[in-house]
């Protein structure tokens, strides 16, 4: 009989820490290397990152996304299996269940709703360099912006656009880097489709707020957005507010089989110019899509 405790074996699964921690520690090590034999204190302050060579996010880039769902536990189980998401402790009491192994942070949430974000639905938090100035622009463009709140991630304002779509602005701490256009690793956000209601109104609002440019897309009511990361498009064809995320996967066929096995729906994988995709709905009614890019 084999030793039952052999089943405890846990091979190391590499996992990226929070990106801001990665940057802070690297900068700390650079200093420790240069400062010779001086004993360095343990890493504590995020303020010494000005020398690192990172491109900071532009206004409007995604800082954080969260899935608002009826059950966070079900979402954890579903996306953990389909996309390999792993979850860590919330950063504040009653906070989001954080996904800890993505290039761009994300979370799932089943608590109190946020104005203008449906459930199931997606809440997008966007970087800005100057929260007060951007909040004033939101109001001037016909939207709403709350007073700033201090969160573990930075100062944040909850907003709605002039069509009532909810989002948030976050004044990013120093040292945060711009994320990739289409994600980098499996499970990452690869593309965002915003159905704002009317796409022309949205182009005026978000163009005015963030300086985004727009080009006509491949179908009627579609606009390609030039500016934000991850890459973003708008589509007014549905006439109703909605955000749909595309997640990067290594193998769409494998992921589609998992979606179906877990009680979701998925179209057969289709070859597009940019990769293989499938349109899906999770087991709680949230629409998303998969991209093998």
């Amino acid at each position: 009989m084999a030793d039952p405790l052999e089943a405890l074996r846990r091979p190391i699964v590499p996992l990226d820490p929070d990106p801001s921690f990665t940057i802070r520690l690297r900068s700390h090590l650079e200093r420790a290397l240069v400062e010779g034999d001086e004993v360095m204190p343990a890493l504590e302050s995020p303020s010494r990152t000005e020398s690192t060579n990172v491109t900071p996010p532009a206004d409007g880039d995604i800082a954080f996304f969260s899935l608002h769902v009826p059950s966070a536990d079900r979402a954890r189980a579903f996306y953990g299996e389909v996309l390999g998401w792993r979850f860590g402790d919330p950063m504040e009491p009653g906070g989001y269940d954080r996904i800890v192994n993505l290039s761009l942070p994300g979370g799932v949430w089943d608590g109190e709703g946020v104005p203008g974000v449906p459930n199931p639905g997606v809440h997008l938090v966007r970087h800005v360099a100057d929260l007060a100035a951007s909040s004033a622009k939101v109001r001037a463009l016909g939207g709403t912006a709350s007073e700033p709140e201090v969160t573990p991630y930075g100062s944040r304002a909850r907003c709605t656009d002039d069509q009532g779509n909810g989002f948030a602005l976050l004044q990013h701490p120093p040292g945060v880097a711009q994320s990739a256009q289409n994600g980098e690793r499996p499970g990452d956000l690869a593309y965002i489709t915003i159905a704002p209601g009317d796409e022309q109104l949205a182009a005026t609002f978000y163009g005015g707020l963030f300086g985004w440019q727009f080009r006509p897309g491949s179908v009627e009511h579609a606009l390609q957005v030039e500016g934000p990361t991850p890459q973003t498009g708008m589509w007014g064809g549905t006439g109703r507010p909605n955000v749909m995320l595309m997640y990067r996967v290594d193998d769409v066929a494998v992921a589609v089989a998992k979606v179906r096995a877990l009680g979701g729906e998925a179209t057969d994988p289709a070859q597009m110019p940019y990769g293989v995709t499938s349109d899906c709905v999770d087991d709680q009614g949230m629409a998303f899509y998969l991209g093998q890019l």
Partner: protein, 178 residues
């Protein structure tokens, strides 16, 4: 940098570049190792930071092999040191709780993953440490002994006690399926 020769500083520069390259390579492995063993993001970040600072010290001392297994080895030391320091606080309690081990009868069971994890968390830090090294990390008994700075015989006794403590705790948690 005072007192260091020009040649030393030059070769140190190359080592510094290598250490930062190793950091980029090894960070997810080190962090993944620590988070999966200690279960807390904050603690895993602290230990990751201590691990790479120790690697910097080794670079300064001029004896750093600069490989991923080497830095995972440092992370393991840091984890064991952390549990040991914390364990000293619990030492009084665990001395009272320790009992002579029962007869070694064979244990035939297929461990349930979640229950095994909860069992491990409920053990004394000494037992948790030795089982982590022997089973989760899959080290040999001599390697566990070296990590703990104990003799091989003492390590075997400790593993044996830890196994029994694990079994008792696991069975207590079993409820109906024993």
């Amino acid at each position: 940098m005072s007192g260091r020769s020009a040649e030393g500083a030059a070769s140190g520069g190359a080592q510094q570049e290598s250490l930062l390259a190793l950091y980029d390579d090894a960070l997810p492995t080190v962090y993944g190792y620590l988070l999966s063993r200690c279960g807390s993001v904050g603690l895993a970040e602290d230990l990751t930071s201590e691990t790479f600072l120790a690697a910097v010290s080794a670079v300064h001392a001029g004896n750093a092999p600069l490989s991923v297994p080497w830095v995972v080895g440092i992370a393991r030391h840091k984890l064991v040191d952390h549990w040991r320091a914390k364990g000293r606080e619990e030492a009084g309690l665990s001395a009272v709780a320790s009992q002579p081990p029962p007869d070694d009868d064979p244990w035939e069971v297929q461990l349930d993953g979640l229950r095994a994890q909860q069992t491990l968390e409920a053990l004394s830090l000494t037992h948790k440490t030795v089982l982590t090294l022997r089973y989760l990390d899959d080290l040999t008994v001599p390697a566990v002994a070296a990590e703990l700075g104990r003799t091989r015989q003492a390590t075997e006794v400790l593993i044996s006690r830890a196994r029994r403590a694990f079994r008792r705790e696991y069975e207590v948690r079993g409820g109906d399926d024993g």
